[in-house]
């Protein structure tokens, strides 16, 4: 055998180790350069430039929302600290913590994430991989909103008590670190759990349990509010649940938001040892969240594949025992859509979770905590509209799940219109089901609404469905992006699509709110249904017009569609 020693000049720089080694720094520089090139290349196409514009607008909106949250948090904090109610700061910390996590999960599929898995073929050490995951994850709406809320809190507390500035800054930094790490860990673990059937079932059960628990706790948490006759008749007795509330109150004090609040209170009391202990325990939580994220990232770093990889027994069970009636392309497409939806937990959650949340929203109306003049009267349309929020991605990116299969759309001897019509029929049926279920669930919680409210809700729905489908078809063909059906986070979402779809949905909702509110103000609510039906006629005409032109639009955008949806994950 030939001796090859010394014949190859590797030309490699000394590797070093750790996230700050020379090699790692070179890699960061390369990544920054790569991201800069991608950013610059966006402007080569009008679509890319438009996407950048949409991203800028989105972040401007997120910033405004964050500033609003920050101002609110600051005002409340100032008021609480000025009136010496420092112990109540824990509520603010809890709200910020929950919002931080919720915003991140809710917007995960709409934000673009760079998939660091592509870096694994390079000699990237784990420390760098972890650090990069954190840094890339920082550029999102939740960090912006959470960060600005913390800033508001800092300003509010400092204005009320300048002597607390130092400790508040320290605790908020620790609290922010915890939230950043926790949200990354939750997304990473959710992706892992939702990829496996058993853990998926456990997650669903836990979710339902939490929802029901909130329902049980609701009357207790609102014990100082006037109850409706429903509560008095059949609801759980407040006294029975009071020990549990006490347990919850004690427990929360040992959790990060409670600990963060405690640090400020203890600083106020000049109890240094308690303050140090609270800071220390909060630090342990930060390390814990970092550790949880680390476990997940370590598995990814080692090349874990989150594919379904089902067992043979599960394979054998997965017989296509059911079919949609008919043998034509419409039934074939509907059957495919249905099977695909049932195999994508993130999409199932997106569609059905708002429906479950309607139960909670219904409870808010039931206990009368809202400031609406006629909360019960308009609760049903609000719940129905909320229940339909989960359809944004399905309707406004209805080709996104096709992936490489988009090519078949142009190869089949079937007009694109037929395929889009099939998708619309499927999504429409699902939309009707969710709207009905939301309406029924809300009615069960709030009570049967008046006939004119039901008519107005149906009128709005008949308008909203074709309007959403018409707009959704146009946006799906012009701003499609690939959806990874197995993941919640790290999607390659399009801000342009997200922004426009939200704007259109808000407009559709706004028309409904405007018409119903005006009719209610003039005490002519029965008039809302015919007015909304007139809007519905226009929406149906728009939908049919779009359908008629779908083939021309699809063929005109064919290259871009294929390029966007076929591109590697």
């Amino acid at each position: 055998m030939a001796d090859l020693s010394g014949t190859i000049d590797s030309g490699l720089a000394p590797t070093g180790s750790g996230p700050f080694s020379r090699l790692a720094r070179e890699q960061y520089a390369a990544l920054i350069a790569m991201r800069a090139r991608i950013f610059a290349n966006n402007f080569r196409t009008s679509a890319g430039a438009f996407e950048f514009g949409a991203r800028a607008i989105s972040y401007f909106i997120y910033s405004l929302m964050g500033l609003g949250l920050g101002a609110g948090a600051g005002s409340v904090a100032y008021s609480l600290v000025s009136h010496n109610h420092l112990h109540s700061l824990s509520i603010e910390f809890w709200v910020i913590c929950i919002l931080w996590q919720a915003i991140s999960i809710a917007l995960a599929s709409l934000q673009e994430h760079f998939d660091l898995g592509t870096l694994l073929r390079f000699p990237v050490n784990f420390g760098s991989f972890y650090l990069l995951h954190l840094l890339f994850g920082l550029i999102d709406a939740s960090t912006l909103a959470g960060g600005l809320s913390c800033l508001g809190l800092l300003i509010g507390i400092t204005l009320a008590r300048p002597d607390l500035f130092g400790i508040t800054l320290l605790v908020l930094l620790e609290f922010a670190a915890f939230n950043i790490l926790l949200v990354r860990a939750i997304l990473a673990w959710l992706d892992r759990w939702l990829a496996k059937r058993r853990s998926r079932e456990i997650i669903s059960a836990v979710f339902l349990l939490v929802t029901v628990s909130v329902q049980l706790l609701n009357p207790v948490l609102r014990e100082d509010k006037p109850f409706t006759h429903h509560h008095q008749a059949g609801g759980p007795k407040t006294g029975e649940l009071r020990p549990w509330v006490s347990v919850i109150r004690t427990t929360q004090a040992w959790l990060p938001p409670g600990l963060a609040s405690a640090v400020v209170s203890e600083a106020d009391l000049r109890d240094s040892s308690a303050m140090a202990a609270s800071l220390g325990i909060l630090g342990i939580f930060v390390l814990g969240a970092g550790g949880l994220l680390g476990i997940r990232l370590r598995a990814e770093y080692r090349g874990e594949n989150l594919g379904e990889a089902p067992s043979r027994s599960k394979n054998e069970k997965r017989e296509a025992a059911w079919h949609i009636a008919g043998s034509g392309p419409i039934s074939a497409e509907i059957e495919k859509e249905l099977r695909t939806l049932f195999r994508s937990m993130p999409q199932l959650y997106a569609v059905f979770v708002p429906m479950v949340m309607v139960v909670i929203i219904g409870s808010l109306f039931r206990t009368g905590v809202t400031a609406i003049a006629h909360p019960f009267r308009l609760a049903i349309p609000i719940c129905v509209a909320y229940g339909l929020l989960g359809f944004t991605q399905l309707i406004y990116n209805n080709l996104g799940a096709e992936g490489k299969g988009i090519q078949m759309l142009f190869l089949f001897p079937v007009p694109v219109r037929t395929v889009i019509l099939a998708k619309n029929l499927f999504h429409g049926a699902l939309y009707i089901f969710v709207a009905l279920a939301s309406g029924v669930l809300a009615s069960l919680r709030i009570g049967r609404p008046d006939p004119d409210v039901i008519a107005a809700t149906i009128g709005w729905f008949i308008f909203a469905l074709p309007a959403n489908l018409a707009a959704g078809n146009v946006i799906s063909l012009t701003m499609a992006y690939r959806i990874n059906l197995g993941r919640i986070g790290r999607q390659s979402g399009s801000q342009a699509n997200a922004l426009l779809s939200m704007l259109i949905q808000t407009t559709i909702l706004g028309i409904g709110v405007g018409v119903i509110s005006l009719c209610a103000v003039f005490d002519r609510l029965w008039l809302a249904a015919p007015i909304l039906l007139a809007f519905a006629v226009v929406a149906v005409i728009a939908w049919l017009t779009v359908l008629r032109n779908v083939d021309a639009m699809a063929h005109a955008r064919r290259d871009t569609l294929i390029a966007k949806l076929v591109r590697a994950e």
Binding site: D9, S331, K336, Q407, M408, L411, V414, D559
Partner: protein, 265 residues
């Protein structure tokens, strides 16, 4: 004269300033096993995309089975089968479900779809994996499934973009037999591959595209004779392989190749 299955005149495709395919004029007669060759980036996949309606030509015309073809010619799409670049599979369906879906989209009745799906899964040796989701298939299995989907409706013209890539030797042999059977039954196959031995064994005619232009077109024998006559050192009666023909034609315009890499010697 044999009828043309595929005919192009002055076919061209530009992406901005880049000319991917330029003035490609060729005829593939019915029943022909046609090899479409070229180095990486020569324009093979772009040509196939135009011929199957996945890409709009910038110029030129296409006729399939004697009729003008465009992306909206649905009656012609019914007559063609395609294994496109990237295979166009739907990852969240099982193999059975995918084939059923494709069959129905081509307008086959349910009973025919069921029968052909079963036959194809058996033939492609995917029957044991029929309930696995496509996303969990190996690359070779995905290729076999893409081929099965391309032939489920019994196309008269079959476009195959690298169909043997990643397929094991046993399956490749089986597929070759299937494709030859289709030719015997009058189908036309338009094949692109980098495996020149396969082309030499299966195809009667080849065209070579280089830098977007058609640089050779004809029967393998005709190309062999043409190239042999231009080689100064070629001995009379020497039988050139397709690889030698290909390198002679494509390599000729490629300039002086780099012989070695400085850091690997």
């Amino acid at each position: 004269m044999d009828q043309a299955a595929i005919e192009t005149h002055g076919l061209a495709r530009r992406f901005g300033d880049l000319i991917a395919v330029e003035n490609v004029t060729l005829t593939v007669t019915q029943g022909q096993f046609f090899g479409f060759l070229g180095p990486n980036g020569a324009g093979k996949s772009t040509t196939i995309k135009m011929l199957t309606g996945l890409l709009e030509p910038s110029a030129g015309t296409i006729e399939i089975l004697g009729q003008p073809f465009s992306s909206t010619a649905l009656h012609l799409k019914r007559q063609i089968g395609v294994v496109p670049e990237g295979m166009a599979l739907l990852g969240r369906l099982t193999a059975t479900e995918y084939l059923r879906f494709v069959g129905r989209m081509y307008g086959l009745d349910r009973a025919t779809v069921e029968r052909r799906t079963e036959e194809l899964l058996e033939f492609m040796q995917l029957a044991n994996e029929r309930r696995k989701m496509v996303t969990d298939f190996s690359h070779g299995m995905q290729k076999k499934l893409a081929l099965a989907a391309a032939v489920i409706h019994g196309p008269k013209v079959l476009f195959l973009d690298e169909p043997f890539e990643g397929v094991d030797a046993i399956a490749a042999g089986m597929l070759k037999t299937m494709l030859q059977g289709m030719i015997q039954h009058g189908a036309t196959i338009f094949l692109t591959t980098h495996v020149l031995e396969i082309v030499e064994r299966l195809c009667t005619h080849v065209a070579i595209i280089h830098q977007g232009r058609l640089v050779a077109n004809g029967s393998i024998e005709a190309l062999r004779a043409g190239v042999a006559s231009t080689l100064p050192g070629a001995e009379s009666g020497q039988r050139l392989t397709l690889e030698e023909i290909f390198l002679s034609i494509v390599g000729a315009g490629g300039g002086e190749p780099v012989q070695e890499l400085s850091w690997l010697t």
